[in-house]
Every structure is written in C-alpha cells, then in structure tokens.
Symmetry: C2
Subunit: 194 residues, 2 copies
C-alpha cells in the first residue's frame, strides 16, 4: 500500500499541533512537527530556534525579517536555503512513510501527491487567546495582539514561498474550526477520513 | 431540546445541495433549498425565478443586476425587500424546527445562534465542470466559464449583503472539498457532527 500523508496547517493557538499528534496516535503513524525543525536544523547547520524563527519572518518589515531574508549579490538568502532543505526533507518523509506533518507549508510542498489529505485548523480569537494563555503560559495581558502578529507572519511566510493565500478554503480538503467543534471531534473526523 | 440548524453554503456544481438533502434525510429533518425560494416568492409576490435570479445579481455590472438593484429616491431596491423577507423567513425557520438550510446567506443570517453548524462545500473546477455537465445537463463546451460566472455572482451577492468574504475559511465551522472527499463522505461527516 502506498503512503498516506496528512498535512496540517493551523492558526497559532488553534490546537492544530495537538490535533495532529492525537490523530497520528490514533492511526499509529508518526507526526512530524518539532521533529521536522530538528531535521532541518541538522541538515542546514543552523540552530533549531533559528529555523523556527526563519519560518515566520519571510517578507516581513522588521529588522529580523530583513536580516533573515537579506540577499547576496545573486539574489539568494539563508531563508531560501532553508526552504530548499525543508522541501527536500518533507518530500523524502512522504516518500518514506505514512505520517502527519504539521506546518512548514507541507500542504503546498506535497500538493501534487494524490495520497495527501490537506487540513486547515482555525479558531476564533477568543478560543485561541484562552488556549495560548492556558497551554503555553503566554502573558494574559494581550494575547490577541500576539495572535494577530503570529497570524500575519505565518500568512506572509506562506504567501512568499507558495504564492498562494494562507487559509484560503480552496487549498484544503477539509478546514475545521477547532474552537466550535472541539479538539476531540476534529481528531475523530480526521482519523475517520484517513 | 432546542432546534439545531445546519447551514450549507456551496460553490455551484460542488454538490452542496445534494449533501444538504442527504444529510437532512439521514438526520430525519427537513432541508430547505428550493422550498426557501418558494416561501420567499410567495411572501414577496415575485415569481420564484425572479427570486432565484435576484439572489445572484446583487452589485453586478450588467443590465440585469442594474435593473434588479435599481434604487428609488430613498436608496431602496426590490432586492433589499427580498433580502428583508429572506432574513425573516430564515430566522423563523430556525425558530420553528431543526433543519438544513442550503444557500441564501443563511450562515450569515443565523450567525449569532449557538446551535447552528456553518458548512462550506467547495470543489475544484474539474470536478465541478464534470458534475454540472452530468447532473444539470449543462452544455459541455465551456462549463468552466459558467462556473466562474456563477462563483463571481454568488461571491458578489454574499459580500454585498453580509459585508463578509464568501468562502473565507473563518466564516465556517467546517469546509469540505466534495470533489476530493466524495459526496457520501461529506454527508457522513456532517451527520456525525450534528
């Protein structure tokens, strides 16, 4: 039987990572999330923190995104190197085994594979703010600002490298509101669909 | 027990209406689609065809949309009358009984009801073109043009009356690609969620 992949794109604080992990556990297949960062870090020689940061600062306007995306005389940046490594690692993973892959534009990278279920997890501000305060111990004074900032960065990164709109309903086979439906229901739906 | 409503917004040719009908049948509740047009026609005094047309020609640029949305000296059009009647009928239906409602911006009209599951059904051009030729006997020479035209009209109507983007993932609890997942699987997911 050929490999079957689930890619999960998610808004920060929507519980997409948890849904990915739990769905993978139910199906008895691996889930790549921070493991992916590790792999990319190892191959690129950058630290894992740097890889995580680079994944959120493409085409932004601040000093960090400027620094990360600074281009040499050939119009080439460290971020482009990372993107190439990321593409190769994700493609190899999908060749190797059935798995769940969270984030890193895996939906786009694997878009031509017929055996890939593309999932988007989102939720409203209220649910996400509550979740990041409870789960990640974020400072509760302005979680909304932090969410908006994260959303903006993920959308910019996605658009820069894929030339597609992040969160556009047409890019996904299924999009779920984890706040309204609940994490467990989302896991159940995805595991049943697989 | 309070009423529970499923609203289905759908791209033309995605099978959203069929999914609505079948889900309602599984759940043993009514599905309002053309029945809704009938009700609106009856109350407004317009014909059913006129009501159907008016639902697709808001804010467009051609002679028909101009005529339909022509405003009197108080800035008021026939379409606005229809919208008011539609709003009232959909709100009354949701008060009266559990049901599935297809189209007519019911998702927006009922957006403040906690007991309403908002669904979006979409599919790629290829699946939809195949479907409208097979199911509706559309002329097979340029189904894509017809689909793009219908998409544009529905999006314009939705945006005009709701001030929200049609097909934006955040407006729905669940969005399903009926071409990739299949009609039966969509029905199963929605019936299970209810």
């Amino acid at each position: 039987m050929s490999n079957r992949i689930i890619t999960i794109s998610r808004e920060f604080g929507s519980g997409g990572r948890t849904i990915g992990k739990q769905t993978a556990a139910v199906l008895g297949i691996p889930c790549y999330d921070s493991e992916l960062l590790e792999k990319i870090a190892k191959e690129s020689g950058f630290t894992q923190d740097y890889v995580a940061l680079a994944g959120e600062y493409a085409a932004g306007g601040n000093w960090l995104s400027q620094a990360l995306s600074a281009r040499d005389y050939q119009g080439h940046s460290y971020q482009d190197d990372l993107w190439a490594i990321q593409q190769r690692i994700i493609t190899e993973l999908a060749e190797k085994e059935s798995c769940v892959i969270v984030g890193r534009c895996a939906d786009f990278i694997l878009k031509d594979r017929a055996d890939c279920l593309r999932v988007f997890i989102h939720s409203d501000m209220e649910h996400r703010a509550k979740r990041i305060v409870e789960q990640y111990g974020e400072r509760p004074d302005s979680p909304e600002k932090r969410l908006r900032d994260k959303d903006k960065r993920r959308a910019a990164y996605y658009q820069f490298y894929t030339d597609m709109k992040w969160g556009n309903v047409h890019n996904y086979h299924i999009a779920l509101d984890s706040g309204a439906l609940g994490i467990d229901k989302c896991v159940e739906i995805l595991a049943n669909l697989y």
